[in-house]
Symmetry: C2
Subunit: 286 residues, 2 copies
């Protein structure tokens, strides 16, 4: 069990990790590869104080080197879901389940636009994890929407459990699907419901009736990852100590809103880490 | 007239200056010498992301070099007072009066503990600037409290104007005082008042009757520099955009509260600068 699980791999995440290590907390960063950070593509960055005239890639490499030196652990993965367990959290990182006492969300700009009804029916037919929730749909009809080939694995697993699986790929090419999976083309438009539960997925004006919809996404909106997290539009709501509305959950960087700048992310990462460390120490004193 | 006047010379001030220059705003930093920053004395700093293992002095030198390269101007001075003039501010920097359209306060940890009654009677007999307010005390009795030798210049000026000047030095040695100045030893304890105005200064249990008290301080609390600035204890109150309660006035770094860390200061400096730039651009559109 880690003291602090950090979701994201950009400057906010790395700064939080470095400061948490200085407070002697065990830290694991759950992030994507280095080049998935928006910063990686920046040609020149000139307003991070003390390190002028570097490319985004050079800066990120210096940041990673600093974090590695401090003993930060890294798990390169996509986070599917986070489950609050009372005193700790279970992080589903590509179906590898890891525990952490506190969380720092540093997920970057929220690019994951959900479709209409998606957040509303989360946990009521909408899921981001077949491994977690698939058994709830035994003998039922489900649709899997795949933004990448991982959706195929989800669909293939569900094909053994469900009555009917429809697969809607949002990428090309589709690699391997079991024979009993129905392939569908088009873009999902809305999650439809009846009596408070999912009843169909609307695709190109057509409603595909189903009991459950599984989304395999490139990135998941933080409020979909962690149920009950307060957001304001795309931004996670935080106070000046970088606390979210959920106890033990902190946030830092672009996911808390503009300006989308390294210095802001690094500063907020530090504050989030010190707040998480104080929260842990407070708990230990009880 | 500068677009942005920045008060303070630490990481928050320098980061604000660098980001303001990137937005093509003219910037002047009013700060003390490099070695007056608390950071200067730090033996090793290891949690400013990307620049591990440096001394405070080395970091500050890199920070200054970055700011100088961006065309930031510096005025090494002690700020005595800031006067809001509606559309701009007049900054009294060692009696050199400079104008700026907006302000960023990055004054560091508020070490200037006022004595009892000092803030209460500000503008009602308490002043930090003899040049500004001396003439209001023509023919009256004043006390000058000097934390450094600049208090002597204040007292000598007032000696030509006031009926009686008492000088209370909080340092040694006293260099030169005009003959008609009364030297007093001891520590000031409280500003006493009658009918809403200063009536005396309490020193070692004795009340020295006077109409005005001038403090020549090493550092002045921000709320004493700028009338009406909202503080919470020692901290300047800011929102997430680093706005204070006064239009056109922003704050960043240690003066907004803990944690007292470089990354937090640098991040807040950037946010304050971008908020000030947006405020200026907003004004120009009108």
């Amino acid at each position: 069990m880690y003291d602090i699980g950090i979701i994201g791999g950009g400057p906010a995440a790395l700064s939080a990790a470095v400061s948490a290590r200085q407070r002697n907390k065990s830290v694991c960063i759950f992030g994507r590869s280095l080049d998935s950070s928006l910063l990686f593509a920046a040609e020149k960055v000139d307003n991070y104080l003390g390190l002028p005239d570097l490319s985004g890639e050079e800066l990120l490499n210096q940041f990673y080197a600093h974090a590695r030196k401090q003993g930060v652990e890294f798990v390169e993965s996509r986070i599917k879901q986070i489950m609050p367990m009372g005193e700790y959290f279970v992080i589903n990182a590509d179906n590898n389940f890891v525990q952490a006492k506190t969380l720092i969300l540093a997920t970057g700009i929220n690019k994951s636009r959900g479709i209409a009804g998606e957040t509303e029916y989360l946990g009521k037919g909408v899921s981001y994890c077949a491994t977690c929730d698939g058994m709830l749909y035994r003998g039922k009809n489900v649709v899997v929407v795949g933004e990448n080939a991982e959706g195929e694995a989800e669909a293939n697993f569900l094909a053994d459990v469900c009555a009917r699986v429809t697969y809607l790929p949002l990428y090309q090419p589709v690699m391997y699907l079991k024979e009993n999976i129905h392939l569908k083309e088009g873009k999902p438009q809305a999650v439809l419901g009846e009596n408070g539960r999912v009843s169909a997925l609307e695709v190109g004006g057509e409603a595909i009736p189903c009991d459950g919809i599984f989304f395999a996404k490139n990135s998941t909106a933080p409020e979909s990852l962690l149920f009950g997290l307060e957001t304001d539009g795309k931004n996670i709501v935080v106070d000046r100590a970088m606390k979210t509305n959920l106890p033990g959950v902190f946030a830092a960087g672009d996911c808390t809103g503009a300006p989308y700048q390294i210095a802001k992310a690094v500063g907020e990462g530090l504050v989030a880490a010190l707040s998480a460390a104080a929260y842990l120490d407070e708990g230990n004193r009880k």
